[in-house]
């Protein structure tokens, strides 16, 4: 976790955060008028600790009240489980739609139409899957088909335990569908080879980063474009290079408030404002600074040189919808299990 720590150390406002893959972050203890809990995914720790400062100032100007925002980070499926089991988080900011859906299906904590409550299908920003390669790109990795080459080893989070890993799988699938034009046998063969070239399946995104950077395992790390860019910025001496493949997956970052909890906690107004403010220009600028792609046109033009052009394939194109994708590919006995069978 040395990697995680030094990443954190760089960023102001995150001092004193000692967490493994999951942990609680609290802003310094002072008596705030209100308090909300944001349950989020593993690698959004730095983003939200900065956003919380921005929002606190905004909220104080707006309402004259001080707010304390607690952060809880971990694998987003694990986070969703905690909420179903009773964690009274006010808002969730996840990296996968299914982990929010489950809050409706299992816990009935939010309405079914939660995606319609905020702009862009409740996804204030998005990202895609990219590659991080070692200095000078010695294995010359440019695109998904390079991952199926012999002698190329990769590191990615386990698609069974991490949304991040599922996205990578879907991105590779999207590429294969386009390349092999629906030839199922070829698509399967390709995915099988890519999966068999994996050196380590970490359980979460940050774990995979640590394995690649600190343990020096693998030729390529597969994770979010945002994480990849942040690693490059964090380890200038490592000389890592970012490779964004021509085709990749549209990774939405859904957010919503938990109706049942905000009612009980009496935090309805502030929780909604917290998420709505994510769409403001200031917030979008901050988010883009963390290498996430944003919808705000002014901001995305400002940051255009940071984000190479890429054809983003959506879940609808790849598998119809999330429910179907989970059932066909990720459920036990599904496609992923079959491909990994020996």
């Amino acid at each position: 976790m040395v990697g995680g720590l030094s990443v954190l150390g760089r960023l102001k406002g995150a001092a004193g955060v000692l967490a493994l893959s999951a942990g609680m972050v609290m802003t310094p203890a002072h008596a705030a008028d209100q308090e909300i809990l944001n349950s989020s995914y593993d690698i959004a720790r730095e983003l939200f600790s900065d956003y919380n400062e921005l929002f606190s100032e905004h909220w104080q100007e707006e309402s004259g009240k001080t707010i304390e925002i607690k952060q809880s980070h971990g694998g987003s499926s694990k986070q969703a489980q905690a909420i179903i089991q009773g964690l009274r988080a006010d808002v969730v900011t996840y990296n996968q739609v299914t982990d929010v859906d489950i809050l409706h299906e299992r816990g009935n904590l939010i309405p079914e139409n939660w995606r319609e409550r905020l702009p862009n299908a409740s996804s204030p920003y998005y990202s895609t899957m990219a590659f991080l390669v070692r200095k000078g790109n010695p294995k010359n990795i440019k695109n998904w088909d390079d991952l199926a080459r012999e002698g190329v080893t990769s590191v990615l989070p386990n698609p069974k335990t991490s949304g991040n890993g599922r996205y990578t799988y879907l991105a590779a699938l999207g590429y294969a569908q386009k390349t092999f034009e629906g030839d199922e046998a070829k698509i399967d063969e390709f995915l099988k080879t890519v999966l068999s070239n994996v050196a380590v399946f970490d359980t979460g995104g940050r774990g995979a980063t640590t394995t690649f950077v600190e343990r020096e395992i693998g030729d390529v790390l597969l994770t979010f474009e945002s994480e990849v860019n942040n690693i490059v910025a964090q380890y200038p001496e490592g000389g890592y290079e970012v490779v964004v493949p021509k085709v990749s997956f549209l990774a939405e970052m859904p957010v919503t408030w938990i109706d049942r909890n905000i009612e009980r906690n009496g935090t309805e107004a502030v929780s909604k404002a917290y998420l709505e403010y994510l769409y403001s220009e200031e917030a979008q600028r901050l988010i883009a600074g963390f290498f996430y792609r944003v919808h705000n046109e002014t901001v995305s033009e400002e940051f255009a040189d940071k984000f190479p052009e890429v054809e983003l394939v959506s879940i609808e194109e790849i598998a119809g919808d999330w429910e179907n994708a989970m059932k066909v590919h990720f459920a036990s006995g599904g496609k992923l299990d079959q491909l990994q069978r020996r």
Binding site: L20, K78, Q81, T161, V200, E214, R215
Partner: protein
């Protein structure tokens, strides 16, 4: 001597309320309550969670190909780790009991470190040490040995987290061994090896076996230390606890509990077997 004790206890059993030690009813009540709250209730919970499944479903979950592969990996790794601990743990206990040396107290205290340390910390540290760029990994790689992110890494993690079980079960028995028997044997011309084989080992054997069995059962359930160093490759280095974790991530609580119940039963059967065996062995050893 033994008849007096027996007589006394049978006498006191005849008169309720009059016991040698006071507070029996209260302490037994408290003990049973806590055993129920801490051990039996959680186990019942596990069974209740699986009870929604039919036998066929239960069997399908626990005999899934990938899950079975994880049993094999876990069992092999745990077996090697606990046998390794049997040898090394015995040596450590021997040194700690029989010799005086500078820093002995510190070594003795360090023995408990794997117990005290969060297993995740152990896992991260071991992965850092044994990966190719790490302090040990560098030299092991030169020998052609890859430890981190291979099944061997699992063995290392399991051996580390369960070593104290052997040391701490063997140590008190060694301390209690009277040196007279050994001295007598030596004075009658027995070699060191004969003394060890005929005098020491028969008394140590039950404790050592218990230690190894505890080490084994602990290794079966180890999670934190292992996932950081295992590489978690399906069919190669996935342990059973990770399969439980995976089922939970799929929001499949029943399947997770089903696999957990297999581990639980394996541990229970093993503990029971070792206890029965030990009781029989001791009876034979002492001729009772």
């Amino acid at each position: 001597m033994s008849t007096t004790v027996a007589g006394l206890s049978s006498a006191s059993r005849n008169k309720p309320g009059k016991r040698v030690l006071p507070g029996f009813a209260l302490s037994l009540g408290v003990s049973l309550l806590f055993i129920s709250l801490i051990l039996i209730l959680p186990i019942t919970g596990l069974i209740v969670q699986t009870s929604g499944m039919s036998v066929a479903e239960y069997w399908a979950v626990i005999s899934d190909e990938r899950v079975v592969a994880s049993y094999k990996v876990t069992l092999w790794a745990a077996a090697i780790a606990s046998l390794f601990n049997g040898v090394v743990g015995l040596l450590l206990a021997w040194v700690l009991v029989r010799y005086e040396f500078w820093g002995k107290r510190i070594v003795d205290a360090l023995m408990d470190l794997p117990f005290a340390l969060p297993t995740a910390v152990a896992g991260i540290t071991l992965a850092a040490l044994f990966s190719e760029g790490g302090w040990y990994g560098e030299y092991l790689a030169a020998l052609g040995l890859e430890v981190a992110f291979t099944p061997l890494g699992i063995v290392v993690a399991m051996a580390f987290t369960s070593l104290p079980f052997v040391v701490r079960t063997v140590q008190p028995v060694l301390e209690d061994l009277a040196p007279e028997d050994e001295e007598a044997a030596v004075s009658m011309g027995a070699s060191d090896w004969t003394v060890f084989r005929r005098i020491l080992f028969p008394s140590l054997w039950p404790a050592l076996m218990t230690g190894i069995a505890l080490s084994f059962t602990r290794s079966l359930g180890e999670f934190g230390a292992v996932i950081f160093i295992a590489g978690n490759m399906p069919y190669v280095s996935e342990i059973t606890s990770l399969m439980i974790f995976i089922r939970l991530q799929e929001f499949d609580y029943a399947a997770a509990s089903a696999i957990a119940s297999v581990v639980l039963m394996a541990s229970l059967v093993l503990l029971l077997a070792i206890n029965l065996w030990q009781a029989r062995y001791l009876r034979r050893l002492h001729g009772r």
